[in-house]
Symmetry: C2
């Protein structure tokens, strides 16, 4: 069986790799027919050199060029919707409808179009002008970007079509996509559409490239190569930290989205007031997509009382009666079980679930664990182990004071939620717990579960380590996510005609937002 081609330097090429892999259909546990190559180092380096050449060619190109590509690409994706949905459904077992066709694919094309609009507008570059000193700066492209996509969003976080890809391109960079091994066919279709869009937009050959797999060693060489600009990685903590070490050593920015257990703090009053609503919201959020979201609520903190115990029982009952979803792959099934076992070994007890199976294909029972506050505080690191999937841990604090102490000891997370009563009875406790939670999460929510991640300029899909590698950046949201793939470029007394258009006295479009002498403005300098 000959392996699928890789996309190198503007064309599909037979990989020189001698080993191959196949994806599996998670619903049948059986291998899918196509084989994909593991790219050897020479191939990766060829991609890097081609991307570097593309970077050089595109230096100084206006955002319009990248916007044109992104829009052509979004159109092309829509034209291949049927193929993409069919392939992704086979490779991930995610429902073709509504999830893939009606939710994730429109989200993906929307992100690409938002990125196009941001690239065209140029306000994301934050042009800053000190007219008295004639010093002017903006954010510009950083160079070739490697994108490693995760398993759980075959479209919206795909290495060659998702949020990191869109942000890296909007900043004016070439991208070398490293597809996730669980959905190479989906990634390949995107690659076909991307190549066609790049050709019609007359982008250089190395602008968009695609490989499917590398050895761990070559992955580390890849992200630390002198010609690379930066890396975006979403996936497992273990693999991410290997790449982080290599990139850090080489001084190359790497943006990681790693583990997050997304604590939800349910204050006593809200259970008195809206018990059924909170049970419903929690169970829906925790089991949706078989719990395979970065923002899945993996830990709930309650104060010990009758209502809290009733809450645990109600959730357990719902977990037992809810259908068990299919997991994305054998690795997810295995690591979820390992996570559940680690949490038990750390002192938690199983309320329900915990066994493999129960659903179609790769699956585990809907799983609820429980631990008391003293045990949690005594072993909090191990009890914050992520079990990525359809499960959660209930932590029962002995009193309000202990609940605050628990919140004060959380590791970095993408999100933290607090549910509180509307009648004000929880407000005093909210004021104690919120500052503690605030300092360890990227996004603080009230009265809503964390699984929804709006593509909003105000979104933060980020947070302190180990949720991500740097707490000042978000992976979702345009224009903020674009800054990850840029560098600050200052022009000091550079002659006017040599400045980028956005830094010249005249506002090039009349609409670019610029920070001129301390004031945000769309006007010309001096007007």
């Amino acid at each position: 069986m000959s392996a699928q081609s890789v996309l190198l330097a503007g064309e599909w090429a037979t990989s020189a790799g001698t080993s191959t892999f196949q994806a599996a259909n998670p619903a049948t546990r059986e291998a899918l027919p196509d084989a994909y190559p593991v790219s050897p180092w020479d191939e990766i380096e060829r991609a890097i050199r081609s991307a570097h050449e593309a970077s050089k060619t595109m230096r100084g190109w206006p955002g319009e060029r990248f916007a044109g590509f992104l829009e052509a690409y979004a159109d092309g994706i829509e034209a291949r919707t049927d193929d993409l949905v069919e392939m992704a459904a086979a490779e991930t077992a995610l429902p073709a409808e509504p999830r893939l066709r009606n939710v994730e694919l429109p989200r993906t094309t929307n992100q690409l179009r938002l990125a196009a609009a941001a690239a065209r507008d140029g306000s994301w570059t934050t042009p800053t002008i000190d007219s008295a000193n004639n010093i002017r700066s903006l954010y510009g492209p950083i160079g070739p970007v490697a994108v490693f996509g995760p398993n759980n969003f075959p479209f919206a976080f795909n290495s060659i079509a998702g949020g990191d890809f869109a942000a890296a391109v909007a900043a004016g960079n070439p991208v070398i996509a490293k597809g996730h091994s669980s959905h190479p066919g989906t990634t390949r279709i995107f690659g076909e559409v991307a190549l066609s869009a790049a050709q019609s937009a007359e982008m250089p050959a190395g602008f968009i490239q695609l490989i499917y797999r590398t050895s761990h060693e070559d992955g580390a060489r890849f992200v630390s190569h002198p010609l690379m600009g930066a890396t975006g990685y979403t996936g497992s903590r273990q693999a991410g930290l290997v790449l982080k070490e290599a990139a850090d050593r080489a001084g190359k920015p790497i943006y990681l989205e790693l583990s997050s257990i997304n604590p939800v703090i349910v204050l006593p009053g809200v259970l008195q007031e809206r018990f059924d609503d909170v049970v419903e919201q929690f169970c829906t959020s925790c089991l949706m997509g078989t719990g395979q979201f970065c923002t899945n609520p993996g830990l709930v903190v309650l104060v010990d009382n009758d209502k809290s115990r009733e809450f645990v029982t109600a959730v357990a009952d719902r977990f037992q009666n809810a259908p068990v979803g299919t997991m994305l792959g054998e690795g997810v099934e295995r690591s979820f079980q390992e996570g559940v076992k680690a949490i038990q070994a750390a002192g938690a007890t199983l309320v329900t679930g915990g066994e493999a199976g129960g659903g179609t294909g790769f699956s585990c029972q809907n799983t609820l664990l429980q631990v008391d506050g003293n045990t949690f505080l005594g072993n909090s690191e191990a009890l914050q182990t992520e079990a990525f999937g359809n499960g959660s841990l209930m932590v029962i604090a002995q009193d309000a004071e202990q609940l605050v102490a628990i919140a004060d000891g959380f590791e970095g997370n993408l999100t933290g939620c607090i549910y509180s009563a509307n009648d004000g009875s929880d407000d005093s406790l909210y004021d104690q717990v919120a500052p503690a939670l605030r300092s360890c999460v990227g996004r603080l929510l009230n009265d809503t579960m964390p699984t929804g991640v709006a593509v909003s300029p105000a979104m933060n899909h980020g947070g302190p380590f180990p949720a991500t590698g740097h707490p000042a950046f978000t992976a979702v949201g345009i224009p903020a996510s674009i800054h990850r793939f840029s560098m600050l470029q200052c022009y000091d007394k550079v002659r006017a005609h040599r400045l980028p258009a956005a830094l010249q006295d005249k506002n090039p479009t009349g609409s670019v937002w610029r920070f001129i002498d301390g004031t945000w403005s769309q006007a010309d300098v001096g007007s």
Copy 2:
């Protein structure tokens, strides 16, 4: 001899350290009288815990609180000007006037006051509001910040008074300063003033702390401690990379300002047009402060012709006749010589200088090296070795094409300058070389030397590795430098009265700039 006290948890305390060190007067090469302690790990950890408590106390405090401290501190520094100038002159041999009293001290208090204004105004937090989704975000404090100051600016980059300190405090963080061993007395005086200002501003005990030295091992533990927020480091590449590795491994942001040779490209036409002016500007910039600036022009690229050879001769002549300055310490004297030897070993030849001595105290001759373009391209990494001090390397490219190739191979630098003729004769070559230089420097200059670093909102005192650890951040310039010590904090459907003032519908001051639904505005939401 009893050692000077350290500033821990709000008071001056006798260090538990058993070893001490003394600074030297660089002009006499003799030890100064005071002994300073090397803090043991327990002491460092006590400082970290105290800073963490301060962080918790200050959560949610308005910028006004930090502004009040910064302004009281600036006033206090001015009141101690005589003491500071006398001590710094003895410890660094930098001229008391104008350098210390009339340039660096006003720059330092100006930075503190600019940081105070930014903290009070709050626009630096970049409040971003998506009113339709009720998602709102801003930058908030990151937690305790360690600041390691360099040797070459005893005031303006001092660990307890300089740019990193001001930025970390403006963001709302406590600071643990690690003084530079070459000017501990200066740092101690700042510590006295800072403590007094912190007390009068009623800041918590662990807000500002000071230690003088740690072992290398403890320094690494310090920056990677779980309770630390981030680190700012300016200094040698070797020591900085040790700290970087430890901080990176722990997922703690570390902002480094390391080596930079600041290439200056002199195009052929400008030497025809303004020969004397360029000679004068270069020699002044290169020898000022005995060349001990991060932005010292350490490498000049010229195209081979009579005028370029004449330029090298003219510079050599000036170097031989210029007074030889005193270096900051024995380490600087030694490493400058090592740098010069490494550049020679890599293929460069000595034009003038190269020997130790020639000035008062620690000193080396004004040193000029030269290498041809072929040799440079064949061994460019070694020929980009930094020799921090009063020296520079002239690279003679055989033609314009080679000059572009040389610029394309530069490592990351803080700055890059291009001198070109006013008559347009260099413009075509400028257009070829500028994009290459642009991609590897933080600040691109025209027709001026890089040594001036204005404290401007548009400044970038940063650049790609190894100049710094992350190319998206600047160490100089308010408000941009503040972002280094902050994290992005999103509020998703958080109830209105619980939001930080800057995220509520009403603009809290009427003057905070906010990005509301895609528009920068000082208005209320919905108005």
